[in-house]
Amino acid sequence: MTQPDPVPGAPRATADEIRRVVVVGGGPAAHRCVMEVRKLGFEGSLTMVTAESIPPYDRTLLSKDNLVGDGAIATMAPPGAYEALDISVLLGREAVALHAEERKVELADGTCLDYDRLVLAVGGAPVLPPALAAPGVLTMRVAEDVRAVRDALERSRHLVIIGAGFIGGEIAAAATAFGCAVTLIEACDVPLRDALGVDVGGLVADLHRSKGVEVRCGVQAERVIADGGEGYRVVLADGAELRCDGVVVGVGMRPNTAWLRSSGIELDGAAIRTDAECRTSLPDVFAAGDCARWWSERRGTYCHVEHWDAAGKHGAAAARAALGRPAEFDPVPFFWSDQYDVKYQWAGYAPSWDEVEISGNGPGDFTACYRVDGRLRGVFTANRPKEFGKLRRELVQSAA
């Protein structure tokens, strides 16, 4: 028996009976969400719809194994797993509008998905400022980007990377493995200054330099000009011009929420604002992952991270929220980055700090503890996995 259509224009009350759950997105949050929905016993219609052309995969490997190794894209679900759980996966289908009163998501091909509960796990897209967007300038976020970036690493004698964050850093490391000369451009005075502070950022820069990467900090890349098929000129704010064969831009990402503006959903900048249990401003619509900005009771503020680990947990929390279960989401943030022979690891939530204590033996082997009022709030290590594990557990315990 089908549910009768509502009177057009009249908002429906919250559906007591959940028959259809729709998840928009194709990353770790979307994957974990649909898996958790089934794990919680929901047997109704469950659809994951993504603009990506392949099912959810380990995005963190794109700038690691997938570049320097010959590792295949690591799909999150083994073959047949979604079918076995009766999860409908729609690939290459972009969501273009949310009609909240009618409880429909409209796709680019004109079809609509009706929902009783909707989870938005749409992630984001790399920022590419127009002045830098010459033809062939590369970014890295999705599986399709790997081939072009790897080609650039293989054929470039000189590669310029704009942005010395984790994407830029990992690609710089991969490029040296291909024998490329690399110039890494960073607008701040050290890489990762806002996230890690001046001293640790300095160590990150030192590691790059020790591997032969030219690091230019404190200068913005103003323009990239394609040089008639013979490479590029990158113009810096200090007037310098760099000639190179390839350019990769890693200066951050922007949540994929432009399509939601007409829905009236409350946005915080470009991110979707939610309460502590993934609820957006629209009834029965939830958000999780890189696209979201959620209320944290513990911190008394809205939080936003772009971390693989948080996204998966967030998707699972959104599943619980969508099915009416307790779904508080307030993890201790964790991220990592593999560059050269160094594993960097971070745990904690420390948008600011009073002091950083660094101990160690140089850029490839150190521990940095970030404290507020004498209390440990964050830890960042290089090649110290056991110590990291211990300090991270301390942070988790003190957060509980």
């Binding site: 380990d58 680990d309 996995p385 594990g389």
Partner: protein, 64 residues
Amino acid sequence: MTLRVSIDRDLCIGSGNCVHLSQGAIELDEYDVAEVRDVGAATPEQLRMAQRSCPTSAIVIDES
């Protein structure tokens, strides 16, 4: 070929990538630390992929 798989509990942060990639061979225990439950439940390729995906390199595979 059955691989020998072990988890370094000091390194594991409970991200759970392995749980999804290993199709039941690895699960998180009540402390959110990964443990090998049934190594035969996953193919060697799935276990190697789980090892590559582990953010803390906590999965040790003995292929000898």
